[in-house]
């Protein structure tokens, strides 16, 4: 009950913040919630299942391009286009899972990185449709659901909150049911899990599909809410970001991905106002956190003070 209370409390806080924050921070938080959803997806695979992917941007991109291309070239409405984005990410993650799960450890990381590079190059290669590196803008008038204008900052904020809420509550629930427990068991000891009668492969497969689909939902939402689709979102840095957010916030914690994304977003935002060498300072902060809070911010809180934190 207290777990549910904590998560609902966070969502309620975010809902209230949407009403009182100044426009600048409201816009930031909209973006953070969408990116945190991406991190939540990444966390399912990395934090809970122990599968380190270096190519998650392809799933984010599949959602983004699935929605973007359908709306831009197919004239599809926002809601069905969002569905196309989700299906694109789910299908891609299933295909990648079947192929990449034939490997483990470093080989798995490399294979996911290679797939992601292939996705990135595809976005550039089919420039006639995707407009390559430059990307394309989704016009304000098509980013609507019925009468609701998703480009409106307040609507956008609450749409982002809705997306994040679904992803957060889904992973919270996952930690309470057998499927989630088995994922943690797989992460800790594959052989032992197999010895209890569970198919490790099928659990890993579903972890990749769920993770990829949530990441794809974030990509589709990003395109829909912020109106831009570009190849930079499929590039290597966008595969590394969710890893950093999750590590910072706490891998294998439900709230960690949000905390990590929030922390890093505002750290860069603040430091970039002080110095052009802000990434150097960000790097130092990350090194310090890795040294002194190895389990990430929420992971350390769980370890030291709140052991029931999922």
């Amino acid at each position: 009950m207290k777990v549910l209370g904590l998560h609902l409390g966070l969502l309620a806080l975010l809902a209230v913040l949407g009403m009182i924050l100044p426009a600048y921070h409201q816009g930031n938080l909209s973006r953070i919630m969408v990116l945190a959803t991406y991190a939540v997806g990444y966390n399912v695979m990395f934090g809970y299942t122990g599968l380190l992917s270096l190519g998650h941007a392809m799933f984010f991109g599949a959602g983004m391009y699935g929605l973007g291309l359908a709306m831009q070239h197919g004239g599809v409405g926002a809601v069905p286009a969002f569905g196309i984005g989700l299906v694109s990410a789910a299908v891609l993650s299933a295909v990648v899972a079947v192929l990449a799960l034939r490997t483990i450890g470093v080989a798995f990381m490399i294979v996911t990185l290679m797939f992601s590079q292939a996705a990135f190059l595809s976005a550039l290669y089919f420039g006639e449709w995707t407009r390559g590196d430059e990307g394309f803008v989704l016009a304000q008038q098509i980013r609507r659901v019925g009468e609701v204008d998703l480009s409106n900052p307040v609507t956008r904020y609450y749409a982002a909150l809705l997306l994040f809420s679904v992803a957060l509550l889904l992973t919270m629930r996952m930690t309470q049911v057998r499927f989630g427990h088995v994922l943690v068991a797989v992460r800790e000891n594959e052989e032992r899990t197999r010895m209890l009668g569970y198919s490790v492969w099928s659990h890993k497969f579903w972890a990749v599909v769920i993770s990829g689909t949530i990441s794809g939902a974030a990509g589709a939402a990003y395109a829909l809410l912020f109106g831009y689709v570009g190849a930079s979102f499929v590039s290597v840095p966008y595969s590394i970001f969710p890893l950093l957010w999750v590590l910072l916030g706490g891998a294998g914690t439900t709230i960690g991905p949000f905390v990590g994304t929030l922390f890093m977003f505002y750290l860069i935002d603040y430091l970039s106002g002080l110095t052009t060498a802000y990434m150097l300072v960000v790097g130092i902060v990350l090194v310090l956190l890795t040294l002194f809070a190895r389990a990430g911010l929420m992971g350390e809180i769980r370890k030291r003070w709140v052991p029931w934190l999922p």
Partner: protein, 232 residues
């Protein structure tokens, strides 16, 4: 149900460790595997569980050929395995560890209750993460989790290793309960005293080859076999 190893050979990659080993574990008895370090005792247990591919031979539980199944199907046929070093899921709580064990074979609240009655100390620690348990409690949890499968055959790899005497006695009591319930138990154990107390029969393994299989009474009377195969 009787577990039968029918001339199995197995190893790690090209390195063969077991050579044409045949054994039989019967319901309601404890069969202890004895041999020097590296003789192939743990390898035998891993081969039974399907963790190592067999080079030849078969593992049979009743009429079911376990060696023809993928490893994750083996426990579903009622084989519980408690490996050396316990190997709990340390990030999960005691309750979650037990639940993972229960659901693997579709067992429910009744089995959970039975297991917790056997290990009341675990009931007091249900919400505690497994990594915070003492060594003895971890062994209890590893045993409890395997018992959640309600196994017909239980494989125990050095269950008393590193435990204090009170815990050893608890493990011994648990083995007795399981034996009385008709479970076939294969035990790998280095402590001769524990072997003499727990086992009904002892199978000696030497360099991966099966040697004599004797009643424990024979060993109690005559220690020459221990000298020959274990060097004690």
């Amino acid at each position: 149900m009787t577990l039968r190893l029918d001339g199995i050979s197995a190893g790690y990659g090209p390195v063969q460790v077991l050579f044409d080993l045949s054994l039989e574990a019967r319901p309601g008895e404890v069969l202890c595997l004895l041999g020097r370090n590296g003789a192939g005792k743990t390898t035998t247990l891993k081969a039974i569980m399907g963790l190592l591919p067999l080079m030849s031979g078969r593992v049979l539980l009743g009429a079911a050929e376990l060696s023809a199944m993928p490893a994750h199907e083996v426990p579903k046929h009622g084989i519980g395995y408690i490996p050396q070093g316990r190997r709990l899921f340390t990030e999960l709580t005691v309750a979650e560890n037990i639940e993972v064990g229960l659901l693997a074979r579709g067992r429910g609240a009744e089995t959970r209750e039975k297991v917790l009655t056997m290990f009341p100390r675990l009931r007091e620690r249900l919400s505690q993460r497994a990594e915070t348990l003492s060594g003895g409690e971890q062994q209890m949890l590893a045993t409890a989790r395997a018992l959640c499968l309600e196994p017909e055959v239980l494989l125990l790899d050095e269950p008393t290793e590193g435990l204090q005497p009170s815990m050893i006695s608890l493990i011994r009591d648990t083995v007795d309960v399981m034996r009385d319930a008709g479970v076939a138990i294969i035990l790998v154990e280095q402590r001769i005293e524990a072997v003499l107390n727990l086992a009904d029969r002892v199978a000696f393994i030497e360099n991966g080859h099966g040697r004599e299989v004797v009643d424990v009474e024979v060993l109690r009377r005559d220690k020459a076999l221990l000298q020959k195969y274990v060097g004690i």
